[in-house]
Amino acid sequence: MENLILTKKKVLQINEDTFILIFEEDPDFSPGQFVMMETPALVRKPFILGRWMGKTAISVKIRGKGTKYLVFEATQIRCHLPLGNPFVPPNERGMAIVSTASITMASMLNEIYGVEVLVGSRTPLVMKTPFETVVGDNAFEERIKKLDYEWYLISGSIEMEKKAWNILKKRKTEIFLALEEYMGCGIGACKSCAIQTKYGIKHVCTDGPIFRGDELCW
């Protein structure tokens, strides 16, 4: 874990509101881990780490001033990483179901473990990706219903995750979910990113960010 500066090398637009930021530096991290990035706001923001075109990258969905700053203004971004726990797939017979905001993490899983990837997007993609993509809520739900894998990792907005979870939970499969919660420190000190689980309070930064679906109170 270190506090460093990442230099933006390239920005790629994926869809209407989400961008891939590719960095020059190559810090050490594993799929599933995240970075806290400094913006003009008072609190650093968490982004799940990944790789794109062989380089360290994150996906950023524009949500407000901080994300606009990262995508359109920042050149060198102060941050600390790697944070959270790596995700190691149980086997090769699983799929990562991700929003465009998690596409770089999925790409890294694909690169290292050969995990298949399904991308869900509300708006059409404006760039080519190597992954199957479905556009719109209905198409996403219909595609999820047809999937047949031994395990799934779902990473996207809470609405998207719940849609996929509600379909897949009825099957005898392992489901993992990447969670988001407002974070102060990202390192386990402040206890702000608490979530309620069946086993009590857990923290997204130190217990996650990826959790087993069957421990969540969903």
Binding site: E38, L42, Y182, G184, C185, G188, K191, A194, G200
Partner: protein
Amino acid sequence: MLVINPPIVIASGVGGFGEYMHFIPPEYVGAYTLKTITYKPKSGNPPPRMRAGEFYILNSIGLENPGIERFLKDVKKGEFNHLFEKVKVIASLGGESKDEYLKISERFSEISEKFEAVEFNFSCPNVEKGGLSIIENKQEWRDTLRLIRETLPNTFLIAKIGMEGIFVEKAVELIKTEGWDGVTLINTIRGLHMDAGRNYVVGGLSGPILKPIALRMIYEVRKHFEDIFIIASGGVYTAEDAKEYLDLGADAVAVGSALFKDPNVVEKIVKGLSDRITRE
């Protein structure tokens, strides 16, 4: 006597149990205050626990901590030795009632010599019992202060107070009368964050918004009490912020929420204070 040099303290709560020492070279930390330990374990408040606006951070952690028995066990097992070896450590203690404040003091006395000081949290705005509410009954609080002093006769005792519940000068008068050594001013103050959808979170406010309020509290306390040790806390992001507090008579300055913006902020602040540290 407590000597904090450089005069920068990692604030309780934000600093957890020493996690920020991953980022900060020890020579830049005057003292590290651990997260508040209560008599019983506390799982904290239900989420959401944090939101931020342009000039403030609002938290509702609710003193999540493992409780004094687990803490004693961990300290005795050496779990905090890495911290004790690097920096001066201040413990932070709390409870839900006078009885719990006294019982935790007794239990803490077993390990008190490992700590430079102990800060009692009389001001957390995020718990239903204890914290801020403990000072509501002035007589009971006075008794609590006296009995803790008797239980920990050789420990440097610091009371962490806010700006609610009692005029700060009056609070410090009580604290001093009962033989305590110092105060940490101020804790977060009660606030409410509302988002665009009219969802809201209540909690304690920290960040830049707190600085002018905390500066006034330091000013009032130092004006009335020349010899109480003051750790100033509230919106310290830069060396200039810290200098303002030191110029008003604070003995040390706590850095809390600023760590969320930059885990290395303490090093920058201390470098900015280098002229004063040399002079001292």
